[in-house]
Symmetry: C2
Subunit: 311 residues, 2 copies
């Protein structure tokens, strides 16, 4: 399944949580699922560029999950294995009509002691995605990057860090290129009530590029060269939204790495590919649909997005 | 202010409520405002095509409001005046962050006895918008249309009629071409939980074309030739959302009348113009911004929508 990457393709590095999930939706439930932001993001990225994964797992991590990463050609040199420990575990239940979710159980396990260390060979990675781990760890990863040119850094976060690690998060924002954030969290972080104003405000807090994700309502891109808005892909078979945002961000870093460009035109295409990729993620539990869809299906959805938004 | 209409332009007829409003938002309030769906819709339509207004007012209706219609070249032959009565009055208050609104006071006044009668000269109007009045009255208007070709009918509704006049509404849906409805109401009417499925379902209930409005999240168009999604214009100065949906629908009927076409390509452009027009409406109380903006401003926003949605 590793794609034939274009000659322009640079490596992308994804760092974040790796977990074993149990998910209940209004219609079904499933357990022993491959989860974690870095799983979704690295698989999404792997469709576009050679992808390096940095994270931690325990001795209980199923071999089939490792095989899944390998089928996507993901470089696991940065994967820490703590054989004596157990993998991060998360169990959640979505509310009726998928209007929000509750975390039923979170066991950090080996993730509690996670200190991301980049293998020597990964320190020059030119495209890096920092999943929504503690901002102090995100900053710690940035301290280790030492390539010949400044790397392009994408970071994600979530409400917990906005509430509990604001100073570290503010410091992080000044060190990254692209901040990808949910609409609600963009409003929480900026104090704005309007996502357009929130996007503009976030750019003043550091990142020169901001993407606000609105789920079924599409997403917004804020860049020095302009503003871009894209509608969602028309999903009618919503099975499990877990990982949608992570695969969205992973597709962005992978696409940018594949073309080795970060200009406004490339970012618009990256956002469109991310929209296509995340529409696949929600059509199954875990990474199943995302992983098996194949690049041709992603490209078909990208073209359909072009078609349904043109006038 | 009556535009120089293109040679293709056909007349459009707008029927609906005309009111005097009092509106309170989280930031300001204003009273003695020109309101009512037909006011917003006819002014919006007048930017594109010669527009006929059908509605009822009382003896208290300010002359300045009539002058406003006339400045837009709106044909008032169908305007009923009940000098002994008072104009429909509505007072509302928007919740914090514009998350919903309450109607504080509704006095139907002359609107209670409204029976729409089309002047003889209006019965052959080829493009008709039925504002969200009782479905029985909407059907009554359709009974009076008798032009040389079947007119193109756009209808709007709202939750009250879905709850209280469902049979008449179902009958109406089988007689119209284009149904324009809010996202929440599309879900209420169809029982779906997904707006894509709701749009498809509504097409099976009668109208061959459906538009679902999602406010700040854009809108969706369902047509036999395909699906189209457009993001909202990036409004940052939300003053009063009243009338946004009405001016949106009015712009659609006006644009279609102006090009005298109703194919998928024309409908996509109509929806984009409607998006531009309604973005102006919300930037002031009443029709003030909508009325004074001018066609050049609408065209500029249409072009900006093209620009911000292209990739």
């Amino acid at each position: 399944m590793p794609s034939a990457y274009p000659r322009t393709a640079q490596p992308a590095l994804v760092i974040g949580s790796i977990g074993i999930d149990r998910v209940a939706t209004p219609f079904a439930e499933s357990d022993n699922l491959l989860g974690g932001a870095a799983s979704y993001a690295s698989i999404a990225s792997s469709y576009f560029a050679p992808t390096r994964l940095v994270g931690i797992i325990g001795g209980d991590f199923p071999r089939s999950f490792l095989a899944r990463y390998r089928r996507h050609g993901i470089d696991l040199a940065g994967l820490q294995v703590d054989r004596a420990g157990k993998t991060f575990y998360w169990s959640g239940r979505y509310h009726e009509h998928f209007a929000g979710r509750d975390s039923l159980e979170t066991r950090l396990n080996v993730f509690e002691k996670f200190s991301p260390v980049l293998p020597e060979a990964h320190r020059d990675t030119p495209f890096v995605m920092l999943g929504a781990i503690q901002p102090s760890l995100q900053n710690h990863v940035l301290d280790q990057l030492a390539g010949p040119r400044p790397p392009f850094i994408l970071a994600d976060t979530f409400d917990l860090w906005i509430h509990t690690a604001r100073a570290e998060l503010d410091r992080l924002l000044k060190r990254i290129d692209l901040f990808v954030i949910n609409e609600d969290e963009s409003l929480l972080l900026t104090g704005e009530r309007n996502s357009i104003l929130a996007g503009r405000r976030l750019r003043k807090m550091g990142p020169r590029i901001v993407v606000i994700k609105k789920g079924a309502h599409g997403s917004l891109l804020f860049h020095a060269d302009g503003y871009f808005a894209i509608s969602a892909y028309p999903v009618t078979k919503l099975v499990d939204p877990t990982g949608a945002g992570d695969s969205y961000a992973g597709a962005i870093i992978g696409y940018l790495a594949s073309v080795n460009r970060t200009d406004f035109a490339a970012l618009k295409k990256a956002v469109a590919y991310a929209t296509a990729v995340s529409s696949l993620t929600v059509e199954s539990f875990s990474v199943n649909r995302l992983s098996t869809a194949g690049r041709a299906t992603i490209d078909a959805r990208f073209r359909e997005l072009l078609r349904i938004t043109r006038f």
